[in-house]
């Protein structure tokens, strides 16, 4: 029982990291339909940003958002936008970009993992809840709330939702869809950068950091329902917990098998994911 309880914050904080990563993917994959394999490398870029700013943990969250966001924006402008509507080509293209970015990190920072020193105020904890894991959960919740407010309360957010819901109509209503895509990619990628900084609190940073999380993050988006914020939250928590408990009671490899099997089984019953859009226009 004690082991069960001890594992809880670990599972939830993994879920929180997955949520931060999946949040960006709900935009770029869930709503724009772009399978961006390089999303994982934006996480890595965020983590190295924290590494390059020792002792500046909180500012590095902001810097990482802009660094990863800018990378996403450049990738969208230079490459991805020429491949809209061609998912397989996009997949190959971004996978290539992902490999290039990993090699670039190896050249810049070396192949071995590096350690980012967590700030002192995150040492310790309350009972079984370490501060660093609590902080990650708080960060994920704050990001979800921030994204939600942005989408619902701001002009740009509304424009973004309009493009996601009906791209053609948005264009013929006078919305510059190209600019909205650019901004969507910026925000989605920036969130991956924040996830990268969060990851430095729970483990070492290496060039292939992103590859460990990218597949799970895609699973979160699919299981939660494409483009659904609340679905992503629930699926991330579920997958994070399942991951950590499966890992605790078996081993890392078997845990992956269990998680994949669970997601496949779930999608047999609900291929559309936890939540879906329901309205006359789509029925």
């Amino acid at each position: 029982m004690e082991a069960f309880v001890n594992q809880l914050p670990i599972g939830l904080s993994i879920g929180a990291v997955l949520l931060l990563i999946a949040l960006g993917l709900t935009f770029t994959f869930g709503q724009m339909g772009v399978i961006n394999m390089a999303h994982g490398e934006f996480i890595m870029a965020g983590a190295y940003t924290a590494f390059l700013l020792p002792g500046l943990f909180v500012p590095s969250l902001v810097v990482a958002f802009f660094v990863a966001g800018a990378m996403g924006l450049v990738l969208e402008r230079l490459a991805i936008r020429h491949f809209y509507g061609r998912p397989l080509d996009t997949l190959l293209l971004t996978w290539g970009v992902s490999l290039v970015l990993q090699q670039l990190a190896r050249d810049l920072f070396g192949a071995p993992n590096v350690q980012v020193k967590a700030p002192d105020w995150l040492a310790g904890g309350i009972g079984i809840l370490p501060y660093n894991r609590l902080f990650i959960m708080g960060l994920a919740i704050a990001s979800v709330v921030g994204v939600w407010l942005y989408l619902v309360r701001t002009k740009h957010g509304r424009r973004m939702r309009a493009v996601m819901q009906n791209r053609r109509l948005a264009a013929t209503s006078g919305i510059d869809t190209g600019r909205v895509d650019m901004l969507t990619f910026f925000i989605g990628s920036g969130l991956a950068g924040i996830a990268g900084v969060a990851l430095t609190l729970v483990g070492p940073v290496g060039p292939s950091l992103g590859t460990y999380y990218i597949v799970d993050a895609f699973l979160v988006v699919v299981a939660g329902g494409l483009g659904q914020l609340r679905g992503a939250v629930l699926a991330a928590a579920g997958l994070g917990l399942l991951n950590s408990y499966a890992e605790f009671w078996s081993d890392a490899s078997l845990a992956k098998v269990i998680v994949f099997a669970a997601v496949i089984a779930f999608l047999q019953f609900r291929p559309q994911g936890l939540f879906t859009v329901r309205s006359r226009a789509l029925s």
Partner: protein, 229 residues
Amino acid sequence: MLSVRDLESGYGRARVLFGVSLTVEPGELVCVMGRNGVGKTTLLDTVMGVLPVTSGTVTFDGRDITRLKPHERVRLGIAYVPQGHDTFPQLSVLGNLQVTLEASKGSPSALDEALDVFPALKPLLKRQAGYLSGGQQQQLAIARALVTRPRMLILDEPTEGIQPSIIIEIEEAIERLHGSGLSVLLVEQYVDIALRLADRFVILDAGRVVREGEARELRGEEVQHLLAV
């Protein structure tokens, strides 16, 4: 006002329009007619820039807009109401109007003017657009187009699949807008509606203009034959 010359376009390798020419003078209502699948929607989509032009030109106010993006055409003063009462389903009715208003950088009074055209929308402002009836969605679609304060309105079968009571309201609204000096390009299948609204008509068949003339000529038997299914 709007002039389309020798327009050719289609989907990928499938050509749909084979050299269509038509003009809409300022304040005029021109009705594009023809059977299903002759290229009416393709023509509007091409005029709006949703589909790329293979050859030919589109000019608006003497300016060549053939290569402009859809949103740039909207900013020049063309508004489009596509087929099938399209909305942004998860935005509220007000959100649908606001997002268009903000994109066109118009003044908030344009929103009130658009709602005055369809007062039935006023109690529904907070509702999600996806849950409205087809007729309400079509009214919203037209109101959304008007929010940009267009000088030219393009409508694709605005009465198709709509309950009869709302068809009348939509027809009257188009009549009033036309009466106030707005240029309109309207795709319509029904001769009786075209007769009531149009100044001139153009009939398409297999991607070509086969007949055009004054609205009253629509009564002629030869024209009826062209439109018969």
